[in-house]
Symmetry: C2
Subunit: 162 residues, 2 copies
């Protein structure tokens, strides 16, 4: 063998670091009554006003019944509105409310705090290098920061295949 005795633990540690990051973010947004899943949905709806629940399910790589639960939560908190589409009354248009848009600022602050907390042990040059490589890997693997279902691939249908 050509490589030294170092075990291949980078993959394990990436998993652990990701779980740590997710837990930290969850903790930071909990006071706002949000979870990583609902926060991601709020961001998507704010970016794509008038989205239908069916489209949102596709975007999340999830199923309509799951979307009902997530939107129920956001609507109950007054952050998102459901409006029947007059053109086709089967559709619900989803939009962020004023309160929902204000919460986006809170989410941004939480994301900044999360990133700062995670990167805190590093030297400034290491932070730059790490952030750049993480961005490259996320892009190469097709990951979407707003999708907190499964493992967040943009083309969520192919999750089972290698």
């Amino acid at each position: 063998m050509t490589t030294p005795r170092r075990p291949p633990r980078t993959g394990f540690l990436v998993s652990q670091l990701g779980a740590f990051a997710a837990a930290r973010f969850a903790e930071l947004i909990k006071p706002a009554g949000l979870t990583p899943a609902t926060a991601g949905v709020l961001r998507i709806i704010a970016m794509e006003p008038g989205l239908s629940q069916r489209e949102l399910a596709t975007r999340l790589g999830s199923v309509p019944s799951r979307v009902v639960v997530l939107v129920d939560s956001l609507e109950g908190a007054g952050l998102v509105s459901r409006t029947r589409d007059p053109a086709d009354r089967r559709h619900h248009r989803l939009d962020a409310t004023d309160a929902g848009r204000r919460v986006l600022g809170t989410l941004r602050t939480a994301a900044e705090t999360q990133s700062r907390d995670i990167l805190e042990p590093l030297e400034p040059e290491e932070r730059e290098a790490f952030s750049a490589i993480v961005a490259k890997l996320a892009a190469a693997h097709g990951l979407d920061p707003d999708v907190h279902t499964g493992y967040g691939r943009k083309d969520a249908g192919d999750a089972a295949r290698g």
Copy 2:
């Protein structure tokens, strides 16, 4: 503000990358009848022969009833044995069987494949830099590659605090 318009998405992307890595590992060990949780437990038991379930629960930052389920699964698959401690018959000594030790090789191969798949988009120098920084972050945040409960801190009791 002093920084440019770049959003602080490194934390999000670390979460997504971690979930992606975990899903890939889960997929790789599924044919062996293992999950990330049971694989981590098998590794711990192999490294610390004779561990009790109570000690394992502490090690995992989990509860005894959870350990029962995990050990049941490994024992049912013939990978781990429970033996009553003659000195104190309340304790169960946990040990990896021969089959369990053989599966450790499979786990190592899976971890190698997982790491290779994740790092594949990077240049060789980037891989080195990334692995070193991930190791530094994991150490600084007290993460344990065998703990797949919650977010895997070695001192699992303090999970709720910042």
